[in-house]
């Protein structure tokens, strides 16, 4: 791998890791507050998995740089500030209600699933291996969030109204998931990652069809938000001050 591709791949891994970390963080906020006890269990599990996936991607990025895995992952999570995070705004938005949370998770899971299917064939073997493993967990997530989207989309008038409102709010942010990262072309040419345009088309087709089936309409008049991963909302700063609070009390300490 040439140095330029290597750096691009590291950047790409970090965008993936940051998305999963921040989404897992938001999900973990439900623990103890879910609408039914069964979801305190199931949704905590999804939070655990997403944070687990983030760790896998940080560790692959560590390997590419010859860094020690655990120390690198912790450094990336606890000692970067807002300006260095590369997650999409989609995942940093506050957890909202159960409709917002579930729909965000569905949109993300569907994207992640399709991307993992392609990454399982990556020409970078560690990437392919990790994607194959993670995919088995995502099958379960997707089944879970699809079932919730269906129940809430078709349940009561109120649940439908909340889901449509959530979709209207989430949609422009969700589109940003599909935006190619830095020098993605280079990585696609090398067979490391799937083509982002093709992935976007496939994802759009899939979620439009499924959400239609559960009675939800994709908004057509979305305003143009800045989609770049270098821009964040104020929510990320608040999230990080919570996430990093204890770790930064004493940076020399082991916890």
């Amino acid at each position: 791998m040439n140095p330029e591709s290597k750096q691009a791949l590291i950047d790409y891994l970090i965008t993936m890791a940051d998305d999963e970390l921040i989404l897992g963080h938001r999900n973990s906020e439900w623990c103890g507050h879910a609408p039914i006890l069964e979801e305190d269990i199931a949704f905590a599990n999804i939070a655990l998995d997403e944070i687990g996936h983030a760790i896998v991607w940080y560790e692959l990025a560590a390997d590419l740089q010859g860094e020690e895995r655990e120390a690198y992952a912790n450094h990336m999570v606890y000692f970067r500030d807002v300006r260095d995070y590369r997650n999409t705004q989609l995942v940093e938005l506050p957890k909202g209600d159960w409709a917002f949370t579930m729909l965000r998770q569905y949109l993300f899971d569907q994207f992640e699933m399709m991307r993992l299917e392609k990454l399982a064939q990556s020409s970078y073997a560690p990437f392919a291996e990790a994607a194959t493993k993670i995919r088995t967990e995502e099958i379960y997530h997707l089944r879970h969030t699809q079932a919730w989207a269906r129940r809430l989309g078709l349940g009561t008038e109120e649940s439908h109204r909340r889901m449509q409102a959530a979709l209207n709010d989430l949609w422009p942010y969700a589109l940003a998931l599909c935006e190619p990262s830095n020098r993605a072309e280079l990585l696609t040419q090398g067979g490391y990652i799937p083509d982002s345009r093709a992935l976007k088309t496939a994802w759009l087709e899939q979620v439009t069809a499924y959400l239609g089936e559960v009675g939800l309409a994709i908004p057509t008049d979305s305003s143009n938000l800045p989609l770049s991963r270098t821009h964040h909302t104020e929510h990320l700063g608040q999230l990080l001050s919570d996430l990093q609070q204890v770790a930064r009390l004493d940076p020399m300490a082991k916890w």
Partner: protein, 320 residues
């Protein structure tokens, strides 16, 4: 079970005969199962205890859950999420065990949210620092294990079996707590101070978890007679102090009890008197976090109402 078509044979024994038979079974160490005859008081006591225990697991998610987002490294974060998730699972098994006695989840939740049912008063104390995750895991889960190991041998089959499963996980909780305490106690001066402060706050409330002195516990005698409890509150409390006090002290931590000392004659650690006014005050709902905990549970329940309605409506429309 021989299948639904077989009529149950009518039990023609008098209540006194049934009671004698029931007590003889307990004396032989047999397990009582859901369909078996049991005195109403046995059923009532079990529903009270098991649902209280379930509520404790559920409310117990809150103080530690509040630190999930703040866990200081990724490994600790994953462990803490898994632990809090386990507590939800314990709540679930226990609600099921209480359901075998005829209680419903709705009734039990109503009793909790209306303030009628109690839960372990330990969860009415605040979590103020990361060190509290260590203290809760080691002390609180450790104390719970002593109680639950006893209950794993109790006379009611479904409760005993739920406890066996739960205890295995509680041991993992205790170990992760101990690991945090050791790390902080041997860490930087700031970490040590944080750990000491946490022990200062959690030690006495943990001792209170075992309940009032046996002489002041209205339920103890009947619970022991029917094999629900096999040890008294004071016996369990003493076992806890004997086990935990020397281990904490070996780490250089101080236990906030000037009377605490090893008594060579009894071979037990002697400890000072619990502040029973504080205990009863917290039990009655006036502890530092009673109101917060109940508000959080009610909030989750109210916010979840439309979700549960949608689930029910969906099932009715599409799955019946």
């Amino acid at each position: 079970m021989y299948g639904a078509t077989v009529e149950p044979i009518e039990d023609i024994r008098t209540d006194a005969e049934k009671l004698a038979g029931f007590e003889a079974r307990i004396a032989r160490g047999e397990k009582i199962e859901p369909g078996d005859w049991m005195p109403d008081e046995y059923r009532r006591q079990l529903i009270r205890m098991i649902s209280q225990h379930a509520h404790s697991e559920v409310v117990g998610m809150l103080p530690e859950g509040a630190f999930i987002t703040r866990a200081p490294n990724l490994r600790r974060k994953l462990i803490l999420i898994a632990k809090v998730q386990d507590e939800a699972g314990h709540g679930q098994y226990l609600y099921h065990a209480a359901e075998t006695l005829g209680a419903t989840r709705e009734e039990m939740l109503d009793a909790l949210l209306s303030g009628k049912a109690k839960y372990s008063s330990i969860f009415n104390y605040p979590t103020l620092s990361w060190a509290d995750m260590g203290a809760i895991g080691w002390l609180v889960d450790g104390a719970a294990i002593l109680n639950q190991t006893m209950l794993a041998r109790c006379s009611y089959g479904p409760y005993a079996r739920a406890m066996v499963r739960i205890c295995a996980e509680e041991n993992f909780h205790r170990r992760q707590g101990q690991d945090i305490v050791i790390t902080l106690a041997l860490g930087t001066p700031e970490q040590k101070a944080m750990m000491q402060d946490s022990i200062n706050r959690w030690w006495w409330p943990t001792l209170m978890m075992f309940g009032p002195h046996d002489t002041d516990s209205s339920n103890s005698a009947v619970l022991i007679r029917w094999g629900i409890k096999t040890k008294t509150n004071d016996e369990l409390r003493q076992a806890f102090v004997d086990q935990t006090a020397p281990e904490l002290m070996a780490l250089g931590l101080t236990i906030p009890d000037p009377d605490l000392h090893y008594d060579a004659a009894t071979e037990h650690w002697h400890f000072g008197e619990i502040n029973w006014d504080e205990f009863w005050n917290v039990v009655k709902g006036n502890g530092p976090c009673n109101a917060e905990r109940m508000t959080a549970r009610r909030q989750a329940h109210e916010d979840g109402l439309w979700v549960r309605e949608a689930m029910a409506a969906y099932t009715e429309k599409y799955q019946s």
